[in-house]
Amino acid sequence: MKNTIVLGVIGADCHAVGNKVLDYAFTEAGFHVVNIGVLSSQEDFINAAIETDASAILVSSLYGHGEMDCRGLREKCEEAGLKDILLYAGGNLVVGKQEWEPVKKRFEAMGFDRVYPPGTPPEQSIRDLKADLNLE
């Protein structure tokens, strides 16, 4: 389904507040949100995407290990047959306060379509996702 998305917090990260707010915001915006919650592995994201025929995977990471946790996700998606699935990442993706541009570049190099810095309002990623999926 074009408007189905998989939402979750990757790795050993248990920050649930933003996850619950994103769930609410994307649902309100008309998406069918498959929320796999916190502490989710790459496999959890991929399995959920296959099962629900999702168009996008939205990965949150708030605890600084995002860089290690997200590495290889694009490759695993392709192996699993999720050829054109959109990959978004956002949150506090790295340990410590770093320049944003290099962080963004590293995640883009890993195959993420969009990467969001800390404090991005849900509205922006909703707008972007609608554009990327040609919704509305």
């Binding site: 917090v9 050993a12 649930a16 507040v17 502490l39 290990h65 340990v95 410590g96 404090g119």
Partner: protein
């Protein structure tokens, strides 16, 4: 082993212990007698329990940061900076998130990557992997007490290693380090595992070694109504002292309304002491910790200093024994050591300016204390009832039935039916009570306060208020008013 709120026998403890110490090779480094000898030589100024007791007697508030990195030398450098430049009164060692999930292999990867990348690839200190010797290196390199701070549902091996390593305090609890930190760990297991941690401290106490325990007060740190966090704190306190813990620090996370925050701290101490008395626990050395704002922070560092300082002021005015300090980098994630020191310095300046001052009693303060106590009692009465007198059993059942329910918690064992929102004064109230068994009077009062806000804002009471409140402090205000 069947869960009940009863001190473990030596046999029970030792049986589990064998398994625990085999969870990772460094477990073999732990020798209880040798550790006791080591701990006895720790000077008073590096003993967490003794330092807190002294602060309580002097009526001052101590400042403690959060901090931890992957490698031992870098971690020591970090703690020394917070001690010498920041002027911290108490030191932490924040444990990384893989250790919290007992994923020690991944810690090993993180350690290796950190060496390679020459920066910490872990968000804390992997104490289990580093083992007893390295924990001792840490405590020997500083002049202050060291505490483990983490979020580990099963902290048994970690507790063994850090205490044998000379760290004289451990944060956490079977509820507070499960429900906000795990997705699918049962409460039976986490409470049992924390009984183990508490019993370990009890055993040290019986050997004449004072070790502090601190249940994690703020829970999800997001709009938790004070009566819910106080109920959990009192339960975890009772569970801990049953296992022989003597030095106990109960905590609370700042909500932002001065009256409510001071009332929550006062209600917490008074009510915990009442329960200790009723259940016959004597000689408990009860101290308190106040957490500076745990929710979303402004990205601007000057504004962050404002939030930090207001937290410090509330801590001082509430008479907290210690305050956990945020940093001007909070919004961006894990801070540099300089930013961490900056947060401590701003905090200490405010604490020290206010050390002669407490919030004076007022009618509003007294009424808020009364309300928090009444709400807390409604919850605790039901917990005891559900457990037929056994608090541990009652706690499990209370989460099953939503009698205990923590907003925004990731655990599937949490009902997730209650919703909080702020009233017109910024105090956190219950918007949805879920299955929490409050009296009609209390429910009506909470509702009335939120209806007043809704009226002022020209909208209905609802989840949008909650969402607006979650992001309000980051945007500059306490109450998330609709934009004009």
């Amino acid at each position: 082993m069947e869960l009940q709120n009863k001190k473990w026998t030596e046999e029970e403890f030792l049986k589990v212990r064998e398994e625990v110490l085999n969870q990772w090779p460094t477990g073999k480094e732990v020798d209880l007698k040798e550790a006791a000898e080591y701990l006895k030589k720790i000077p008073d100024n590096k003993n967490f329990a003794k330092r807190l007791k002294k602060a309580k007697e002097e009526g001052v508030t101590l400042a403690q940061p959060r901090a931890g990195v992957a490698l031992v030398d870098a971690h020591i450098e970090l703690l020394q900076h917070l001690q010498n430049e920041g002027g911290a009164d108490l030191l932490p060692s924040t444990i990384d998130s893989y250790t919290r999930q007992n994923r020690y292999e991944e810690c090993e990867v993180g350690i290796q990557e950190s060496i390679k990348e020459k920066r910490s690839m872990l968000n804390g200190f992997p104490a289990v992997n580093h083992g007893v010797k390295n924990c001792r290196r840490v405590v020997e390199a500083v002049n202050l007490p060291v505490q483990a701070r983490h979020g580990t549902p099963d902290s048994r091996l970690l507790a063994e290693i850090i205490h044998a390593g000379g760290w004289t305090s451990n944060e956490g609890g079977g509820i507070s380090y499960n429900i906000p930190y795990a997705k699918s760990v049962t409460l039976e297991k986490s409470i049992l595992d924390w009984q183990y941690c508490d019993r370990l401290v009890g055993i040290y106490e019986e050997m004449g070694i004072e070790i502090n325990r601190e249940p994690f007060g703020p829970l999800t740190g997001t709009l938790v109504p004070p009566s819910m966090s106080n109920a959990v704190a009192i339960i975890e306190g009772l569970l801990a002292v049953e296992q022989g813990v003597k030095s106990l620090t109960l905590g609370y996370g700042q909500c932002g309304n001065l009256i409510q925050d001071v009332a929550a701290m006062k209600a917490l101490v008074a009510q915990a002491e009442e329960y200790f008395k009723v259940y016959g626990y004597k000689d408990i050395d009860l101290t308190t910790v106040f957490h500076q704002w745990m929710g979303g922070f402004p990205t601007d560092e000057s504004r962050a200093f404002g939030v930090i300082s207001w937290g410090a002021a509330t801590a001082a005015l509430s008479g907290a024994t210690k305050v956990i300090v945020k940093t001007p980098h909070e919004a961006a994630g894990i801070p540099t050591k300089e930013a961490n020191a900056a947060g401590i310095k701003a905090t200490k300046q405010v604490l020290s300016l206010l050390k002669e001052q407490k919030l004076e009693t007022s009618k509003a303060l007294e009424e808020e204390i009364k309300l928090i106590k009444a709400e807390t009692k409604c919850i605790l009465d039901k917990v005891f009832e559900l457990g037929k007198g056994d608090l541990a059993v009652g706690t499990v059942k209370a989460f099953e039935t939503g009698v205990l329910d923590i907003p925004f918690a990731p655990s599937k064992y949490n009902a997730g039916k209650i919703l909080p929102a702020r009233d017109n004064n910024g105090a956190v109230r219950y918007l949805e009570f879920g299955n929490i068994p409050m009296s009609k009077e209390i429910k009506d009062f909470n509702r009335e306060l939120l209806e007043q806000r809704a009226k002022l804002e020209g909208r209905n009471v609802g989840f949008q208020m909650t969402i607006d409140d979650i992001y309000a402090v980051g945007k500059g205000s306490l109450v998330g008013r609709p934009e004009k």
